[in-house]
């Protein structure tokens, strides 16, 4: 076991773990941040997506020993009030069915919107390809990203 101090959601968190422990399990079991989900364990489903220095990353493939001083953002830290444009749009359009994948979808989509504030369907499809939704709410996820882009643009337009 080793001692780690990681910057997660703008705060330093300390915990003990073996160096190979995936960030996913440190978040879930050690820190109680369970919004990041376990789906496949090998980076194929996107349910565990977090931002590491702003890059959407599968936390199940990220050993805690590799995080270092990087800034980690999880769904719990995406917006201080849980009101990121994507979180608003998801509720407005009633995107979730079971909801299990939606935090991962949101984290991937948030990174997309930061790079491309007004993405096309094709850009959305490419960016979201690694996030499975078993309930297949894909049409609403796509619509939700467009809606979030509108909400963000409106917010930016305000003085």
């Amino acid at each position: 076991m080793a001692h780690y101090t990681l910057d997660i959601n703008g705060r330093l968190h300390e915990f003990e773990a073996t160096p190979d422990t995936p960030l996913l399990w440190a978040l879930r079991d050690s820190l109680g941040l369970v919004g990041t989900k376990f789906g496949c364990g090998v980076g194929l489903c996107g349910a565990c997506t977090v931002h590491i220095d702003s890059v959407p990353t599968p936390s199940c493939r990220t050993p805690v020993s590799s995080v270092g001083r990087s800034q980690v953002v999880t769904i719990e830290g995406l917006d201080p009030k849980g009101a990121h444009p994507l979180q608003q749009a998801w509720q407005e359009l009633d995107v979730p069915q079971c909801g299990y994948c939606q935090t991962g979808q949101t984290m991937t989509a948030a990174a997309l919107l930061r790079e491309k504030p007004n993405p096309t369907d094709a850009e959305i499809d490419v960016a979201m390809a690694g996030n499975l939704c078993r309930c297949a709410t894909y049409l609403r996820i796509r619509a939700g990203i467009h809606r979030a882009a509108e909400i963000a643009a409106r917010t930016r337009g305000k003085p």
């Binding site: 076991m1 773990a17 073996t18 190979d20 422990t21 995936p22 399990w25 079991d29 050690s30 109680g32 941040l33 369970v34 919004g35 990041t36 989900k37 376990f38 789906g39 496949c40 364990g41 090998v42 194929l44 489903c45 349910a47 999880t74 769904i75 719990e76 849980g82 994507l86 979180q87 998801w90 509720q91 407005e92 009633d94 995107v95 979730p96 069915q97 079971c98 909801g99 299990y100 994948c101 939606q102 935090t103 949101t106 369907d121 959305i124 499809d125 979201m128 390809a129 996030n131 499975l132 939704c133 078993r134 309930c135 297949a136 709410t137 894909y138 049409l139 609403r140 996820i141 796509r142």
Partner: protein, 755 residues
């Protein structure tokens, strides 16, 4: 209808434990139990022996509580698995209760006999509860109106409930439900059978778009799911089962495992012979999920693999082909003289349709948390079928049901997988030995390799066309899969869930010379219900072969289908537990979908095509048109799907309903295109999404247009009926586009190139 009776205990269905919990939650002066019977609602009342200060909340049933603050708490008894039931059934109560949805708090109920059936399966949650829940809401509303009338000394007929208050229009007076709750709690319970229901044309909430009640928690990542459960002192477990189904543990390196970091215990669970119960295995219990997962990589188990090791998909295929040359083991239907119809046919078409086993692949892997204390279990389970979990634990581990408390968590997808309770009994068996709360988490590989699969199958079909191009003969020899089970002390072959053809399966009852027969192949592969069991493949087989026959007769596929359905109104069932089939409803959805999709109105270039299909299941009538483009290189893109559903008189939540249908369409497309479980040496080959690909966003059709017909028929559920017609609609469209007939799934194995 029983009148309210007072005293403890309440209804026979309410155990002491349930009663006490209700009273502690409710803190109300009046407590009513209710059991939901097939004939209607039975309401029984009992006065809780509580302190004077508690007599403030109004709790006219175990599902409804109105606090003096006016907050309305509704219990959702059904498990939420993504079908939206935690939102939609409370909406039904709220509509009749005349409360504003924003004032409603929905709480998930535990497994409790007071709630009646709590199984979420077969798209039954809505039809089984809709009418009763309307009556519940109306009963409470009636009592609140009475309370106001009594306060004002007016006839109740002059008082009207709306927006969480009772109003007297003439005098302009209003009293909120909060202040009325205390008075209402002293009134005798209104008779639910005679209480006045709202005219559906006055509905304000039902039929509108309401977001899921847990959406805010979902999008912010709050703990909701079974896998999110955390208890003080909780340990984390994995459970290793034999890769070949039914294998038993001979030996394992338990001593070495126990020395690994973070491991608290490792032991063999003997298990039972029940393929969908507690299978033998090795448990590792550790201080974290990762410690358990890591230790498992060092686990070495010697297995007695048993009979399964000799089974493979290739062997099943060879066996099915041999069986196809023989008469079926079971005759399901014989009408007319099929042999003569084929002998005199103008044209005969023969085809074999094959589909593989597939997995449910819930995105939340199976998991369960259990705590065994003082001879009793407390269980937290992401389950569709909490009662089955309790029963399996009781029967397997020898703990009476009334010593097993089961909390229903949200499930990360159901699709039928969580109707089984294997993961519940595994967690319980481990917890019984450990003496601390234990969360069992399956890996993705466990989940894909120890599913209760949708059975594969083989249909050997012949169709006869007469001189007029009408379907004069139909023969299906269905070769299916069965497990050997003990029934009444004797061995029997039990076909998998959804792996039995009904004698009434369309076009049985329609073709005058019809032969349906079935032969099982024995296997050790556990099988279970998978979204729209049976229908999810039978619709593909039947509606594809009907398309073949339409083309063989040189007739339009829609016209051929309408002619086949014929002119009868309702066709009665002819088999045990069969259902009558409304031809009128089916023809209407078929005509509507053709109209909305512009069926046959455009000439499409080669490589593009439209396909049509219909299916009746789960009391829903659904027809679909798919429009596809197949590139010369054989790449399929489904451009548009039009769906018309007749699921009765009322859509409960339009947003949820549309989401279910669109999800069903894309899920069905994913199963059609990608899903396949291969069996070799009695084990599943695939282990993760690398070799068991699931549909991604880019494969979803850009347009899925959903239309609901409002008809004068009972309200029914929508988790399943939109699924089955999609695969044949797409395959029929592929034929129209390319001339290639798909008779084997999944599509990714099929060469669709054309030139």
């Amino acid at each position: 209808m029983k009148r309210a009776s007072r005293g403890l205990p309440a209804a026979p269905g309410i155990g002491r434990r349930a009663f006490l919990r209700q009273t502690s939650v409710g803190a109300g002066g009046l407590l009513l139990g209710m059991s939901l019977g097939p004939t209607g609602v039975v309401v029984t009342a009992s006065t809780a022996a509580m302190g004077a200060a508690a007599a403030t909340a109004f709790q006219p049933s175990v599902f409804i509580r109105i606090a003096p603050s006016g907050v309305v708490t509704l219990i959702s008894k059904q498990p939420e698995i993504g079908q939206g039931i935690k939102t939609s059934l409370p909406m039904v109560i709220a509509e009749e209760l005349e409360v504003n949805w924003k004032d409603v708090v929905v709480v998930q109920g535990d497994l409790d006999p007071a709630y009646g059936s709590q199984t979420a399966g077969g798209s039954t949650s809505t039809p089984n509860n809709y009418n009763d829940f309307r009556r519940l809401g109306a009963t409470a509303r009636t009592m609140l109106v009475q309370a106001a009338a009594q306060t004002w000394k007016l006839p109740p007929g002059e008082c009207v409930a709306a927006d969480g208050a009772v109003h007297h229009r003439a005098s302009g007076r209003s009293l909120g439900y909060g202040p009325l709750a205390t008075i209402a709690s002293t009134l005798p319970v209104s008779d639910a059978a005679t209480v006045k229901l709202k005219d559906p044309s006055d509905f304000k909430l039902l039929g509108t778009r309401i977001g899921g009640v847990d959406n805010a928690a979902v999008v912010t990542g709050e703990p909701l799911f079974g896998i999110d459960v955390k208890l003080p002192g909780m340990l984390y477990a994995v459970y290793d089962k034999c890769p070949a189904f039914g294998g038993r543990v001979v030996d394992a390196n338990l001593d070495a495992i126990k020395t690994l970091p973070g491991v608290r215990d490792a032991f063999v669970v003997a298990g039972t012979a029940n393929l969908t119960g507690l299978m033998p295995g090795v448990a590792i219990v550790a201080e974290s999920t990762w410690a358990a997962f890591s230790a498992r990589r060092q686990l070495r188990v010697s297995w007695d693999e048993g009979a399964a090791a000799g089974q493979s998909w290739d062997g099943f295929v060879a066996r099915a082909q041999a069986l196809a040359r023989q008469p079926g083991a079971t005759l399901l239907r014989k009408d007319g003289d099929p042999a003569a119809a084929f002998a005199s046919a103008t044209k005969t078409v023969e085809a074999a349709y094959t589909y593989p086993f597939i997995s449910h692949a819930n995105l939340e892997p199976q998991n369960c948390t259990a705590w065994f204390r003082d001879g009793a279990f407390e269980i937290w389970a992401p389950t569709q079928n909490p009662a089955a979990g309790q029963s399996l634990v009781a029967g397997t581990l020898g703990v009476p049901k009334d010593r097993i408390t089961l909390h229903i968590t949200r499930s990360g997808g159901g699709f039928g997988r969580r109707l089984s309770a294997d993961f519940v009994v595994e967690a319980a068996a481990i917890a019984q030995r450990v003496g601390a709360p234990v969360k069992l988490t399956w890996s993705r590989e466990d989940d894909l390799r120890h599913d209760h699969y949708r059975a594969g199958g083989f249909h050997f079909l012949r169709g006869a066309l007469d001189a007029r191009g009408e379907l004069s003969g139909w023969h299906n020899h269905f070769v299916t899969f069965a497990n050997r089970i003990a029934r009444d002390g004797r061995a029997a072959l039990q076909p998998g869930s959804g792996a039995s053809l009904s004698g009434d399966e369309f076009p049985g009852r329609w073709v005058s010379n019809c032969l349906l027969e079935q032969t099982p192949i024995e296997c050790s592969i556990p099988m279970g219900p998978w979204r729209a069991p049976g229908s999810n493949v039978f619709a593909w087989v039947v509606q594809s072969f009907i398309d073949e026959l339409a083309h063989a007769a040189d007739r339009d596929p829609l016209a051929f289908r309408l002619a086949l359905l014929g002119e009868r109104d309702v066709v009665p069932a002819t088999v045990d537990r069969g259902l009558p089939y409304s031809v009128a409803r089916m023809k209407r959805v078929l005509r509507e979908v053709a109209d909305k999709a512009g069926w046959g109105r455009r000439r499409l270039p080669r490589g593009q095509g439209q396909g049509i299909a219909f299916h009746f299941c789960h009391r829903g009538y659904v027809a679909e048109v798919a429009e596809v483009t197949v590139s010369k290189a054989g790449t399929l893109k489904v451009d548009r799907v039009v769906v018309v559903c007749d699921i009765g008189a009322q859509i409960v939540n339009l947003s949820g309903a549309e989401n279910q249908v669109q999800g069903s369409i894309i899920d069905a497309l994913g199963a059609l295109m990608f899903q396949e479980v291969d069996i070799q040496r009695g084990r599943v080959v695939q282990g993760n999404f690398s070799d068991y690909p699931m549909i991604e966003m880019s494969d979803a059709p850009s347009r899925v247009e959903v239309h609901f017909l409002k008809t004068d028929h009972p309200v029914t559920g929508l988790g399943e009926p939109a699924f089955p017609p999609l695969a044949p609609a797409v395959c029929n469209a592929i034929y129209a586009a390319t001339g290639k007939r798909v008779r084997q799934l999944p599509l990714r194995r099929i060469d669709l190139r054309w030139s």
